[in-house]
Symmetry: C2
Subunit: 152 residues, 2 copies
DNA sequence: CATTTTTTGTTTCCTTGTCAACAAAAATTA
DNA sequence: TAATTTTTGTTGACAAGGAAACAAAAAATG
């Protein structure tokens, strides 16, 4: 297995484990909400007044999915939707107080989960710098790839 | 944003982009098969004679999902299932010649996609060593976390 | 060896996402 | 400005996975 294959492999394993570990925490503290719901609340909380298309593109799901999800979140009282006077086509969203609560709990849990792994980052601070540098380089490279693919 | 947050963020972006880029390739060359189907074929190809539970645990899905998926793959003629004479409870799988074709195409595409990013790894060989070292350390750390969580 | 417990796989119901067709609104074009 | 094109969001049909109940087989227990 060459370096690149190893990278892929280690990355996939890492992500799988992270998902497994965080699932339990969120299920325990936010049992009434699915992870996709919380994820959407998180996005709307961080990007108030975004429309359906923006949310869909950001979360890598279809507009239809966001349309349905938004209805569910409205029914659960987590978000509200509204239209601009000047733009009757697009639909915007923001959190309700109840949605903000869910958002805050999510933030707290995220920090808690990060603290769990804090020591790995503290103990390897010198390596992290290199890791981050590489990840950024790779991301920029893929951005180029993506824009090339788009223009085909 | 601290180093850990940056790491999470860069990682998520990287994975999203990789998924986007490979989706198109696979859709173009294996249009008759969903990515989950190809993924299962890949696993069975690499781990012949595994049973439903093993596949489920490895792919992080439920046994029910594997049970249904295996039927679909059998109907499409990609895999065959059989039982051992000594064990009538478990069901094992292996690829058919047609399944092997799909497997080979998947392998070819995977290599092709990796070649696309080859230069990033060649040009930063020194960084990669550090990156891999860190990923391995982190993986081992999470293994410990997971075994602790299990025992609760 | 008989009984109980665990493991294994299947099925049904439910949720949630995609896809594609669609209507309404906005933007572009001529 | 009128006609056309594009963008935006919704809907219904369908696909696919999760949870839980279940039966059959194997393993553990006494």
């Amino acid at each position: 297995m060459n370096k690149q294959e190893q990278f892929q492999s280690e990355l996939n394993m890492l992500l799988d484990k992270m998902t497994l570990l965080s699932q339990d925490t969120f299920k325990a503290e936010l049992p009434d909400y699915k992870s996709s719901e919380v994820h959407t609340v998180e996005f709307i909380g961080k990007h108030a007044d975004s429309n359906v298309t923006t949310i869909a593109n950001s979360l890598y799901v279809t507009k239809g999915a966001v349309s349905k999800m938004s209805k569910r979140l409205i029914n659960k009282g987590l978000i509200e939707s509204y239209r601009d006077k000047d733009n009757q086509k697009e639909r915007y969203f923001h959190l309700t107080p109840k949605g903000q609560e869910v958002f805050d709990i999510h933030e707290r849990l995220t920090k808690q989960i990060m603290q769990r792994d804090e020591s790995v980052f503290k103990d390897n601070a010198d390596q992290i710098k290199v890791v981050l540098k590489f990840l950024k380089t790779y991301n920029i490279y893929l951005d180029k790839e993506l824009s090339e693919t788009k223009n085909k």
